[in-house]
Amino acid sequence: MSNVGELRDIVDWRNGRVASAIHFDEDLYRMEAERVFNRAWLVVGHEDMVRKPGDYITNYMGEVPVIVVRDAGGQIRVLVNKCSHRGNQVCLFDRGNVKGFTCSYHGWSFGLDGTLTGAPLEQMVYRGELDKVALGLEEVAHVANFHGLLFASFDPAAPALDEWLGEDVRWWLENFVLGGPVGGLEMLPGWHRYRSPGNWKLVSENFIGDSYHVYAATHISWLAMVQDFMGKGIRIPIITYPGTTDPPMYEGFAGSGRSAPLGMGMVVAGNDALYKRDLAEAQELGPEAVEWVEYRQRQLLEIAKDRELKPYSFMHGGLFPNLGLMGFFSPMIGRHFQSFHPRGPVEHECWQWTMVERDAPQAVKDLAVQRVYQGQHMAGVIAPDDVENFERMVEAGRARRNWDRPFHYGLQFGHEEEGPKGLPGNLGPTPSEGNQRRFYRFWLEMMERS
């Protein structure tokens, strides 16, 4: 498959049919690297990860290794982790604090801002003719900080981040996902990473829109445990927050036209059942926790004071292309994001990082962190069952003759808008596959832009 014209036929998002070739075809995978990953704004980290000058983390943009670093002047830069002399990788660690980067091959050294600061025996071997200004590490074209979340784009012609995200996405991210009005999020240092079978889009679409699998089949062993252990009065963090389906919930969506889609599954809005649940748990943790739960409720009501509908929390979500978001209904369960890095057509790497609400009392933070690791985590009781599905999908779909028959994205087809109004974007019925349809619509648009 190398003809872009054929893409329209195989990515028939309008009818909820997408051929599985897009998860297997190597030609498409290469085209996607250019047209999606080299152009999109990608999340590369959070400013908390690089608090001080010299702090850096290494990460990937697509398959390109990058260094996210705070330079001596305090500016955050994203540098391609590849020596300008002859292409050696200059930084080998996951994160650290340094004064600069020195290449192991011939010893060229680079400052925190990527400038070439020295080459061994420079005067003698280059006779003063080395154009050091032109030979810094490649700096990624655009870097932007959105309320702490760091984005970067390789594309010199990329739209401004604000435009890429669009007004509605910005509203949800700032006020809701990143918890702006309640004091923001605090990152825990360290990536939790695992390699997994499956094209990166399989897991991205799962996060952006698939609420269906949670209660229908994939996670029922966890849900059975919740019931069983709660029934016996055994109290363990991941078990004691019921994975509830009780209150009315919605599928949230924001983003339109040229702006990147944000999807959120199981948005709790317009009722206070989970607020009360959090309050009840806070009462067990002590007055400080109660005060905090009440405080954040006032703040949440404040941001929605002119709106008919008040959002409280969300379960899962995704931001195009490859950022997964876990909100898990409650600040008592912590929050985590995951980057799904492509590793060839049929593999990806999941990089998870964890956060808690900054203003939460320590007792809540401790509990929330435990719940993150016991749940949607590579060593938890939830995520491994997702991964298993992707593994099975790869096995079932690898053979070329199986690429044509489309996957079915028919849930809530034509009913996406049948939800309450009053908040930015759209709230519709859940579970739905509307967000997957939108994900592939935007993906197709990027793939078709030459």
């Binding site: 996951d94 994160r95 825990l188 240092p189 990536w191 390699r195 089949a217 690791y373």
Partner: protein, 163 residues
């Protein structure tokens, strides 16, 4: 100080029997090898450079109840990641055992290789070290604390087996 040869042999025997229990998938029996106050930790491994704080949050930090949840989850019949059940082979070696301040407890360090096979050909190789605190209970030994240091910064797959 190292324990004497007789005791070392006893502790090795305990670890080898435990490995067989795991590989025979007798997970309820395996839980019985832990004390009620047991801790089971799998720290995050990272490559750090310069003066930065370590992650401080392990991948797994279980008490016995959470370990029980993991075992019982697989027993529900709906635990897809362990359907079919992994075949594992735990190879334990490099065992050294030291006395502690507590006459009823010893520190035992060992190395392991675990091969995990599932379905037709999917597999993962795991290697690392265990730091165990074993306690003498009713004439036998139980695991009071286990720290599992996996040699991987990016795990080859999600963890759904025990080390």
């Amino acid at each position: 100080m190292a324990v004497d040869w007789a005791l070392k042999g006893e502790l090795e025997d305990f670890l080898y029997r435990e490995a067989h229990i795991l590989d025979e998938h007798r997970l309820e029996d395996w839980l019985d090898l832990f004390t009620e106050d047991a801790e089971y930790l799998v720290p995050l491994r990272e490559y750090l450079q310069g003066d930065v704080a370590p992650a401080g949050h392990p991948m797994i930090k279980d008490d016995k109840q959470m370990l029980t949840v993991r075992v019982r989850k697989d027993a529900t019949g709906y635990s897809h990641v362990e359907t079919p059940v992994s075949m594992t082979c735990h190879l334990i070696s490099n065992v050294v055992a030291d006395e502690t301040d507590n006459p009823d407890e010893v520190n035992v360090r060992s190395a392991f290789t675990v091969r995990q096979a599932r379905k037709l050909r999917d597999e993962a190789w795991w290697a690392g070290r265990r730091w165990d605190r074993l306690r003498r209970v009713d004439g036998g030994w139980k695991i009071a604390r286990r720290e599992v240091h996996l040699d991987a910064t990016v795990l080859p797959r999600g963890i759904a087996i025990f080390f």
